[in-house]
């Protein structure tokens, strides 16, 4: 593999990311899937002196409904217009989304309005009639992983942790998985484009790790909306994830890093499901391959307590990764809530090594 070829593409696909004053919209599902991620993003943004504003009355962008043909496009456009109205009313111009599918939908809608101004006018009319609101379009649209990418140097400088095996001194091997809606629809909207995105690879490199490419890197994580949301299709979902695990296993990755709500969910949970179904695990000695969101990893780099990051709810234990990197953790506190009360300990899996 010629890394200079990738670097050439990475240089081609760069985009402007606002430096400060962000209007942040959350994901519908991430707080259930990986509850520490969005909280961690807000925490390190504040520590880095960045102003992030949230309005609790923002709603879903309707992306999942749109992509499953439940929500018509004009309805989706009007709901997105309402989010923009909340941003406008708060006096912000830089829109940041937590969710990849939202980012894709916002991008798609802004492009639609760009090419079909009458659709924008109709949307303005619908929003006005329905809510009385008006909106300005964002001056800058970014995904939260873009913002974290922009701040990767500051995070590295502020943190004391490096993605290096403390025993061998070698960089940890990390595979990255990018959400489909990040740049596949609009390559120019993603850092590094669609085929060799750099947004996560840039963080891994900056934080001391080694990015590992593997043949099924581009393959679906297993969510794929219809593969999972339609119950009869769920076999496809597990099969898609399994194909990726089989492909990455020979490269012995220490970590899977993601930037989408669905990808870490399925790459994490299906490792457990496959181990129960077939007795197969993909890490060393019966371990799985830990899966993290970029916020969780940034939190580790910054020295946050692993249990504050929400690793308790990961199906694949992250302890082997923490051990490799030399991050201390208190096993006794893993399943305690913030008030020190027990949250209950899950039953150990049959095959996947549990801590």
């Amino acid at each position: 593999m010629k890394i200079e070829g990738k670097r050439r593409i990475w240089e081609e696909y760069q985009k402007e990311i606002a430096d400060d004053n962000y209007f942040y919209v959350r994901s519908c599902v991430r707080q259930n899937f990986f509850p520490g991620s969005e909280k961690t993003f807000l925490r390190y943004m504040a520590e880095l002196g960045k102003n992030v504003f949230e309005n609790p009355s923002h709603t879903t962008c309707s992306g999942i409904g749109y992509h499953t043909d439940i929500v018509p496009f004009r309805t989706a456009m009007t709901m997105v217009a309402r989010q923009f109205a909340l941003m406008t009313e708060a006096g912000y111009e830089n829109f940041v989304t937590s969710c990849i599918t939202s980012f894709g939908l916002y991008s798609e809608i802004l492009e639609t309005w760009n090419h079909f101004p009458d659709e924008e006018e109709k949307t303005r009319e619908y929003l006005k009639k329905a809510t009385g609101r008006e909106f300005s379009k964002p001056k800058n649209m970014a995904h939260a992983s873009d913002v974290t990418y922009r701040l990767r140097h500051e995070i590295a400088a502020r943190g004391s942790v490096r993605l290096v095996n403390k025993e061998t001194g070698q960089p940890l091997k990390v595979v990255e998985h990018i959400g489909c809606h990040y740049s596949r629809m609009f390559p120019s909207k993603g850092i590094g484009g669609a085929e060799y995105p750099y947004v996560l690879a840039g963080m891994i490199e900056e934080w001391g790790g080694e990015v590992v490419d593997y043949p099924e890197r581009r393959h679906c994580c297993g969510f794929g909306f219809r593969q999972y949301l339609i119950q009869a299709n769920r076999g496809y979902s597990v099969a898609a994830s399994k194909k990726k695990f089989e492909s990455m296993k020979p490269y012995k990755p220490d970590l899977i890093l993601t930037n989408c709500p669905g990808c870490p969910m399925f790459l994490d949970r299906w490792q457990y499901a496959i181990s129960e179904m077939e007795g197969i695990t993909y890490g060393e000695n019966g371990q799985g391959i830990p899966v993290m969101t970029y916020e969780e990893l940034a939190g580790l780099i910054l020295g946050y307590d692993p249990w504050d990051l929400g690793f308790q709810v990961h199906q694949v234990p992250v302890e082997p990764f923490l051990d490799k990197i030399g991050i201390p953790y208190d096993t006794e506190k893993k399943f305690l809530d913030r008030n020190g009360n027990s949250m209950g300990k899950p039953k150990s899996p049959s095959f996947l090594k549990f801590y």
């Binding site: 593999m1 010629k2 070829g5 050439r8 085929e195 060799y196 490419d213 043949p215 581009r218 490269y251």
Partner: protein, 344 residues
């Protein structure tokens, strides 16, 4: 200056036109950007369909240049149209004036890296058809990046041609038969290898092409799979994973090959665009130069005294470029010999 012509471009179109006009007594100046003549054909090993050495064709054409004044390693910086004559401003040979211009600035090969999903420039064992030709003539021969004999080779048709995604809707004409030729050459070299051609449809339009296609299948056992490549990836051992759909069986197909050859299409050369801009020549949406009438006046540019030859008007095979260049030369000669009265 009487009966003088400047030919811009020293590929096979320019050489042929210059040789034809020079042989008929015109004072011809041939300007070529590179240091040697022959254009892309000089970088090719053998030509379809008979596998003749490309160098033999160039040698034959060059031998006819006669009194032609050849200025190589020279770029055109500007052109002044004086109505009855043209002055070409160059970077190394000053200004040259003649009564007529014959433009033969040719084509370029599609830049394979634009098809990012194919991994050219990233995966070591993804090469272009042009690089394959270089390998044929090299001492080492055709080997993988780590110097091994490839056991399984994929040949990808229509790279940068008939592809809306890259903005090239047209067919590059010569890639299909080039793919068949290169597949046969691989089998000749490595009889035990497996060679797979991935195609949309095979356009064997010219004499002996269809026979070559049959020979590839019947004599050499080349496999033809109807399916457009969707993406490539690299295995740990450097082999290339290709994903496509076999559209005849209706099934997705994934396989690994040791070497992947991309049959890169034909695109207008930057030189063609520059000269078109200098003269105000009309180009189509595809970037190639439009002649006055593709049926009856295909060598006429619409500017009196400016004639067109070869692949600057669109993809063309060596045979048809040579024929076209001779036609352009004849038209230029007719124009000059009739005191510039024949339609240009």
């Amino acid at each position: 200056m009487e009966n003088s012509v400047i030919v811009i471009g020293g590929g096979i179109a320019g050489i042929t036109a210059a040789a034809t006009m020079s042989g008929n007594g015109l004072k011809v100046t041939l300007i070529e950007r590179n240091n040697k003549l022959g254009g892309h054909v000089s970088e090719w090993s053998r030509l379809f369909p008979d596998r003749r050495k490309a160098s033999e064709v160039i040698d034959y054409l060059e031998a006819g240049l006669g009194e032609t004044k050849i200025i190589s390693g020279c770029s055109v910086n500007g052109i002044i149209n004086h109505d009855n004559s043209f002055t070409v401003l160059t970077d190394t040979a000053g200004s040259i004036t003649a009564e007529a211009l014959l433009i033969a600035t040719g084509f370029d090969l599609f830049r394979a890296a634009i098809k990012e999903e194919y991994g050219y420039g990233i995966y070591n064992n993804v090469i272009t058809s042009a690089e394959f030709e270089e390998m044929l003539d090299s001492r080492a021969g055709v080997l993988t990046a780590n110097g091994r004999v490839p056991k399984r080779i994929g040949v990808i048709h229509c790279v940068g041609s008939r592809d809306e995604k890259v903005g090239n809707l047209y067919c590059s004409k010569v890639c299909c038969v080039t793919g068949v030729k290169q597949a046969i050459e691989l089998k000749e070299m490595y009889p035990d290898s497996e060679v797979y051609c991935f195609y949309m449809d095979l356009r064997m339009f010219d004499r002996h092409f269809e026979e070559l296609y049959y020979e590839a299948q019947q004599k050499w056992g080349v496999s033809f799979i109807r399916g457009r490549l969707s993406e490539c990836a690299e295995n740990a051992d450097g082999s290339i994973v290709v994903k496509t759909e076999d559209t005849l069986t209706g099934k997705p197909l994934k396989m690994s090959v040791d070497l992947l050859i991309l049959l890169v299409g034909i695109v207008p050369s930057p030189g063609t665009g520059r000269i078109a801009g200098m003269l105000g020549l009309k180009t189509g949406e595809d970037g190639f130069i439009n002649s006055v009438d593709a049926h009856t006046m295909d060598n006429s540019s619409g500017i009196p005294g400016v004639f067109l030859a070869g692949a600057l008007k669109g993809p063309a095979s060596v045979n048809s470029v040579i024929a076209d260049a001779r036609a352009a030369a004849v038209q230029a000669m007719a124009w000059l010999s009739t005191n510039k009265t024949v339609n240009a």
